[in-house]
Amino acid sequence: MSISNIMGTSRIALSAYQTAISTTSKNISNVGNPDYVRRRADLGSLISPTSGLAFGEEGNIERLESGFIQRQLWYKTQFVGRHQTDEMVYSQIETVFNEPTSSGLSSMMGEFWNSWNDLANDPDSNTAKAIVKDKGVLLSNTFNQLAIDLQTMQREVGDDVGDTADKVNTLLNEIKTINETMGSGYSYDMADARDAAISKLSKLINISVTENSDHKVNITTGGNTLVPLVSGDFINELEYHVPPFQENYAVELSFSEGGPSSAISGGILGSLLEAQESSIPSYLQQVDALAVAISREVNEVHKSGFNLADVTGLDFFNPDVSGAASMGVHEDIIDDPMLIATSDAASEAGNGNIANTISDLQNDYGINGIKFSDYYNSIISEVGSKVQEASFLRNSQEMVVATLQNHRDSISGVSLDEEMSNLIKYEQAYQAASRMISVADELIQTVLNLI
């Protein structure tokens, strides 16, 4: 080996270790970045006498991606997003119903039925009638408020659908742009950025990710029907349409390049879509049915009864209401509670049979073959179960995802201990190589001095 060989080798070594050190330094500075994939300097190829001086990243520095594990992680993250949002949505619905407080519907119904029984004990009492009217108004107001609160929640969820769709589009565009950049040259940093975007996306909707040999990434959504979102430089964005205000308010979602919105079944967006399209409307419909049934049953009995003035055929509640939002005590009764009927025969001031029958409606099978209170209790039960279920699933999916993240980090994550010991190793090697160069330099000087 000649002196110039020594020089040459040492110079290559120097730059190789320099690259190694800068790679290590980059890893260390990214230790807190969960989307970063660690780099490893491939010293073998860096120092190979046949490789020449290649300073570019690709070929001499590896990006230790976890491949299949990362894609699994992206696939599984949707469940966390989905169940977290489900839990939040159902908890909010549970709060709207506000049971078992004294202002909840359960309590209001109980007080309403009881007020009729008190009236039956004192059928010619103006006070008792005023109380029945008041309890009727309170009951109606509670139904009204429930309907308003659920509808408001539906609108808010709809707003979130729009916001989330916007976020999805931003991420899709980022990924597409990076795809296009990769065409002119694969960049590790760009790959990290793309991975970060895909990670964020994976919580928002259900996706599958594949990578082509040209380093471009394909992202699809959907289950039975696959809908492409990004493919090379093709992009399929989400479009949404906010309908004019109406009782059943669901933001309509579509794809700019086609595909059924039902393809979005997971992630935060999947949960929001189901909430606004089926869960919240279902509870609204049940509350509506209850309000309609109570109004109808009470009216039917009340109309057959006589009041103190021997007038019969009067409604207590507004007749023919369509739902909880429009339930209310009839304005004639509100103006004059004396009109309330208590008797099942004319000219019997002490007859409270009609009032008693109305009070008894609470024990009748007044809706769908079951009692009003049982029907309502089953709504509350269902909501409670959904919260419990979502919480449980969220918990277990979070553990699955955490395990996958650990596996991914095991391959792609940065270990400070490892990097620091590499740093020491490389620093020493660098010093050794530069020592070599000064030795070689001394040798040359010696030779030159000899000349």
Binding site: V31, G32, P34, Y90, S91, E94, E99, P100, S106, G110, E111, N114, N117, D118, A120, N121, D122, D124, S343, A345, S347, E348, A349, G350, N351, G352, N353, N356, S359, Q362, N363, S373, D374, N377, S378, I380, S381, E382, V383, G384, S385, V387, Q388, S391, M399, A402, Q405, N406, H407, D409, S410, I411, G413, V414, S415, L416, D417, M420, S421, I424
Partner: protein
């Protein structure tokens, strides 16, 4: 497996979160004193508790009905007592009037007294309670269901019964109607007594002694029935109260956490959380860089 900083901190954070969730649950339990404070805590037990809460509300209503009914029934007893006393007096008069040794003048005086007693009876029977006529059936705003025109007593009320619901599907009748009283024969007997005395018919008066006794017995029997209703309501009330307290005890056990236990568990959990926090911070500090200083 290769261990990185992120893996270490993730594992420790998971433990911390589990502890934190437990603590929040226990904090809520201690604050509300309730184990099952909303449906999602335990939907099945919550639903059961809801049904019993409704039962409790109904039982409260039954208690109110019993209280109200008891007031009526007690008042009935008072008035019936007064009325019965008048009938007893009338019978004494009859005994006196049936004595052949009495003079026509005496019988005339006795007849006038019976006439007065009939008026008093009618006034008594027209009693009101809480502004309602008590023996008028359901025609409670008829303030004079019994009328005495000097000759006969007429009843203008109806036969309607007033009920109080004292438990599910169980009503009791709390009123005695004028028809019930009429059918004891007491009016007929009193009028006949007045007339027999007026025409100095001592034999006639003697005949009426049995009728008066029968009428008196029948009035007592109405009073006894009234008393039975009272007894029924009292027994039901005692059982209702016991049922209510049993249900409250069950709800208590479901909803009110045993505070001592909760606090003990909470303290345990808090200590575990604190310990985990310390372990986390120490573990994250440990890395090779410390040794290289």
């Amino acid at each position: 497996m290769r261990i990185t900083q992120s893996i270490m901190s993730r594992n420790l954070m998971t433990n911390l979160n589990i502890n934190r969730e437990t603590m929040t649950e226990l904090q809520n339990a201690a604050a509300n004193g309730k184990e099952v404070s909303k449906s999602s805590d335990d939907p099945v037990r919550f639903a059961k508790a809801s049904r019993f809460r409704k039962t409790l509300s109904q039982y409260d209503q039954y208690s109110r009905n019993i209280n109200d009914g008891s007031g009526w029934v007690d008042n009935n007893a008072l008035v019936m007592n007064e009325f019965h006393a008048l009938i007893v007096d009338a019978r004494s008069i009859a005994i006196q009037g049936s004595d052949a040794s009495q003079s026509e003048e005496t019988r005339q005086v006795l007849s006038d007294r019976v006439d007065d007693m009939i008026e008093e009876s009618v006034a008594t029977l027209n009693s009101t309670y809480l502004g309602k006529s008590i023996f008028s059936g359901t025609d409670t705003q008829n303030m004079e269901p019994f009328e005495y025109d000097g000759s006969n007593i007429t009843y203008t009320g109806n036969e309607g019964k007033m009920n109080r619901r004292i438990s599910e599907g169980l009503d009791v009748e709390i009123n005695i109607t004028g028809s019930d009283i009429e059918s004891t024969g007491v009016f007929t007997s009193l009028v006949a007594l007045r007339d027999a005395l007026a025409v100095n018919d001592d034999a006639g008066v003697a005949d009426l002694l049995q009728d008066l006794q029968d009428a008196s017995d029948k009035v007592l029997s109405l009073d006894a029935q009234n008393g039975l209703v009272k007894g029924h309501m009292q027994m039901t009330s005692a059982r209702l109260e016991t049922s209510k307290v049993n249900i409250q005890s069950f709800l208590s056990e479901t909803e009110d956490a045993d505070l001592a236990e909760v606090i003990m568990e909470y303290n345990g959990a808090e200590m575990a959380y604190e310990a985990a926090l310390q372990v986390t911070s120490k573990a994250l500090q440990l890395n090779i860089m410390d040794f290289l200083r």
